[in-house]
Amino acid sequence: MSEVVKLQLIGLTIVGMGIVILLFVRAQFARVIGFVAIVLGLFSLVALAVPQMASLPPAEEKFDIATVKTPTDMAAIGQKIFFSKGQCALCHSIGPSESARCPDLKGIGAKLSREFIFESLTQPQAYIYLDYRHEGPPKEYPARMPYINKNPIGLTKNEILSVIAFLQQMSGEPISVSPSELEVPGQAPKAPVKAEDAAPVAVAHAR
């Protein structure tokens, strides 16, 4: 029996108990408790009826340098990072979207050089794309691009290169990053996800 089914049974039992109290008990306080039980039980049942999604911490993509043989291997890892740890898909669409809060990334790997993409990810305020999806003068997109190599996202250089490989592959371009550029663990800075490494973050915006 799944956890949801167990909780649904508990919820139904609580609602049932509440109904029994209201039907057979005359003491006012007990009746109020029965009423509250029905309300809380129904609330739980409604909450159990909607899609059940837990938020898990992002899986760390293991970079076993020995197994990454080709740029396509890097693109495959980059695709996973794009939709998970990198959180890129939260704001960016791949293909036109009216509701997207950031620029469309379809074909971006063909339009931009790898150096430019790297700069966009690590120094997002260096060059800001404007939104031309509406009439009148272009405006800034509502979402501000975060520094992807800093916390809370904190991609490593290997991960960023993999994302670039994915963007290029997705755009039908030859992948210009190579597995030989990957930093071997122990010879490069560690991933900045450990609390002790992350201590002083940049001062948050002062508006």
């Binding site: 159990l48 059940q52 837990a54 938020s55 509502p142 809370p152 973050v201 001062v203």
Partner: protein, 617 residues
Amino acid sequence: MRHQGGHLQRLLRALRRQGGWLPAWVFAAGLLAVPALGLAAEGTTAGPVDYRDIPGIGSRNIVWVIAQLHLLLAGFVLGVPIFAWLCEIVGWKSGEKRYDKLAKEFTKLLTSSYATTALFGGILLFLLIGFYPKLMNYLTDIFFPSFVFYCILFLLETATLYLYWYGWDAMQDGGKKTFHIFLGFLLNLFAFFIMIVPNSWATFQASPVVIAEGTDIQRAWAATWNPTWWPVNIHRLIANVVLGGYICGAYAGIRYLAARNAEERDHYDWMGYVGNFIGVFGLLPLPFAGYWLMREIYQYNQQMGITLMGGFLSWLFILQAMLIGVLFLGSNYYFWLGITHRIPGSEGQYKKPIMTMLVILLLCLGVWMTPHSLVASLEEARKMGGTHHPLLGVFGVMSAKMTVANLMILVTFMSFIMYWRAGKQETATWAKVARSVMGAVLILAGIAVIVLGVWGYFVPAIIRINYFSTSQVLIVLFVMLTITPLTALLLKSARTTTEMVWGRMPPRAGYALVLNAVMVILLMTLMGYARSSSRVHWHIYGVMRDSSQYAFSPALGYAAAFMALNTFLFCMLVAFIFWVATMGDKAKAGPGVSKGDLPHGMPAMAGGAPHDTDQRS
């Protein structure tokens, strides 16, 4: 072995002799020993410990329950003084003793509830230090100056509370009463600071500002003044007023249901009205404060905003819509019951407007609860051409939801105005003009809100958020700020045509009050989960990652079970506090003691006749 067997037999005999008590004590002792087992398990590791846990129960679950109870109690303890102080001022200004009596009745609760809140705060602190030593060490390092300030505030609050409560009867006349009102002000001022200081610790975890340089005080101040601090402060302040009002209403509702005579029914009917009124008074601006908070979150960090509104927490906001919708319906329903039962002969007169408002509220609730993406099977999704319903899909976006939220506020406000004006006839010469102006303002505002809402579909999100939604909020505020004083002026010279009579509400009115309180508590537990989950796998967003086994946010169904449990426990705690606090009164009153100073079949002050002179001191 024989010796041990003898012990066992003696123990079993003792258990039998003691009936149910001894096993209960043994069980309780076992429960108390559970933490020791858990902590001992972690104690074998060498070096500093990042986390401790209690296997089976889970440290996160325990902290969840205790923190939520502490927060709800704190909301109650901070909301009640605002409620009591407002009642005291009304009583002082109007001369109606029953307001003063009501204020005193609720202040009495403060002493026991204050201690209970502090107790849960202490338990929470010990648990946090025990379960999350590394996190607490970090927070202490940053916030130590504010810890000291917090302790001083507690001393001041405690001293003021003692003076306010124990000096109530001694400070009833002349200048002393003014001083007592001032003490009430101080009580609320210190309480406000007691609220905002820990808010800074909590909001820092979501939107941290960390500076590496500067003195301890400079670092603490920078961390305190983080981007979501003030939006949360304002939101919680208003929410506490709402909580205090609705809990007063629920208490009155329960007492009304259990009332044994007409005097009690009158008194608790009136108390229920006051509680509901203050709850609604706070509820109307609350969505605006929530909107501001959400805006600040988006501006601070888009990913966090999207996680909340469009990510795995998006369904939470459908639940929130349901709870708020029920709360609006419950509050309006109580107003409507008041109009039809407290004002004799008005049943038919207000039937049509009430039905119209009910239909509008239900339609608005339907739109608010429409999800952006529907839960659909693969087959259904294929037929719809995606998870967005071809017709209902348009209601699942923010433009529609902002519009109906504003309309629901407008309707609730008009319910209140209708209740206020019921049973009176305006005598001012300019009454007709005023009524026309109010009608025009209301209709134009409703149209403007809808037009902006529809227009919002055709403009970029940034325009809608920055201009359209803000304009909708300002329009609704304008309506309130125009119609309220105008109605007050009109009613100043109004003639009472039908006296309002207390104690005639049907039992379902009592249940409506209880329902409203439960909705508010559930909402607080729900939004607590949202606030905590928006940090995803971070203790301090972007600064200190949660590397424990609980570095995930559970699904909504599991979380809802905890919310329901916490709500139930809090209701029981509050019921216990009320019971303890009123135990002495019941003993003092005894059977058959006159309650002559309570209103019996008397006209009302707010919402009723203003001429109940024999209630004035």
